[in-house]
């Protein structure tokens, strides 16, 4: 179900996402730090914790967004669960794997948005998988993922205890 460290990281990141991050937006696209953090936490802690981190962070984003309640919650729960499945299945290097993980998560989110907008008539949503802003977000997330993962790796509490004991 996750631990206090994970939620203590996610909440400030959500607030940063809505207040300061638009200053570095290119063509209106900013990186999704919350998504990348959910990916990292899920990969380190497994599917149970991953899906809960995704559900909680997505729901908080929904509260702060005009999106229908549950929209981001759904997307991030799926991402959290899928990345939880990858826990302890492969070695994460410092650059390439985090970039791939960030890129795949962004694409998953993109397909999820398309899926939900296809099922529900969601007001005010304007999303195109091939639009410039989405491609910029994809690139942004891929570039930022290695740095963010390295930073998160410095925080002992976000990974299960046994991983630390191995070192």
């Amino acid at each position: 179900m996750g631990n206090i460290w994970g939620y203590s990281i996610l909440l400030p990141l959500i607030v940063l996402q809505t207040t300061i991050l638009h200053r570095i937006a290119i063509e209106g696209a900013k990186p999704d730090l919350v998504l990348l953090t959910v990916v990292y936490l899920a990969n380190k802690n497994g599917k149970m914790a991953g899906q809960t981190y995704g559900f909680v962070s997505g729901l908080i984003e929904d509260f702060l967004s005009v999106s229908p309640l549950g929209f981001n919650g759904f997307l991030k729960t799926i991402v959290g669960f899928l990345y939880g499945l990858t826990s302890e299945t492969f070695f994460i290097d410092q650059i390439i794997i985090p970039m791939i993980m960030g890129g795949v998560a962004t694409l998953l989110k993109g397909f999820g948005v398309l899926f939900l907008s296809w099922i529900f008539n969601i007001e005010n949503l304007h999303f195109n998988l091939f639009s410039l802003p989405f491609l910029i977000e994809l690139g942004y997330n891929m570039v930022i993922a290695p740095f963010l993962f390295a930073l998160l790796g410095l925080i002992r509490g976000v990974s299960p205890k046994k991983q630390w004991e191995e070192y």
């Binding site: 702060l64 005009v66 309640l69």
Partner: protein, 281 residues
Amino acid sequence: MKGTSFFRKHRVGFLLGSYLTFCLLSISISTKTLILRPKEIGLSVFSLFQAGVSSVQRLFSETIDSIRTLKTLKQDYEQVLERLRYYEKVEKQYSALEEENRQLKEILQFSQSIPYESIPAQVIGKDPQNYYTTLTINKGSLHGIQRNMPVIAVQGGKQGLVGKILQTGFNASIVQPIYDPTSYVAARLSISRYEGLVSGSTEEKIYMYYVKRFARMNIQSGELIITSGLNSIFPPGIPIGILKAIHAREYDTSLLLELDPIIDFGRLEFVYVLKMQRGNP
């Protein structure tokens, strides 16, 4: 016992199912535009964090701005002195013009009283995701803000339209800006008086649609575009933007006008929500 062990064995699946069911039910209720109390409560609670971070950010940027301001203060002082001399001359002409203006207004039976009051608010955040363009302000239903109220701002002494209220919490509201592709404002050209519909686009540009094709000869770049007041949301006469370019496509029966908005949304900090006495749904 058997049931309990089955649940334990599949608890990840049960939890995932519960989360997703909750999300889907919630989306389906929300998209039928029911007013959800949990959404309002959530917006109110978490917007407090936004307000906090926004204040800290503003504190830092204001400190840096103050240092910059001090550097240019002396230079500005000289310029202000020069301006003061100029305004002394202008003031002499002002009284005469004011009287003339008052008389003209009386003749035209122009109403001098604004039929709505305004609620000042501060922009505290933007949407966390890239596929929404909304802004969050620090005033909500507790301050009398309601859905669909028009939002304006003043920048550099100029008043301009920002958008409308899309959603309210107790102490925060979400504003849909005019550059949102799903925003539509009934507008008109201030001089030639042709009407159209102003809307945003996915490239974050603002266009005026459905302007009659024969208007081509009577309009030119630089003309001010204002709200026409023809829909019930926005009052008439609020400046929206300046006409930047005219696109006359051969296959189209109407013109497409590109605007430069009056408001620079990148610098938007404070807005005014108009408490419309008429037109509220």
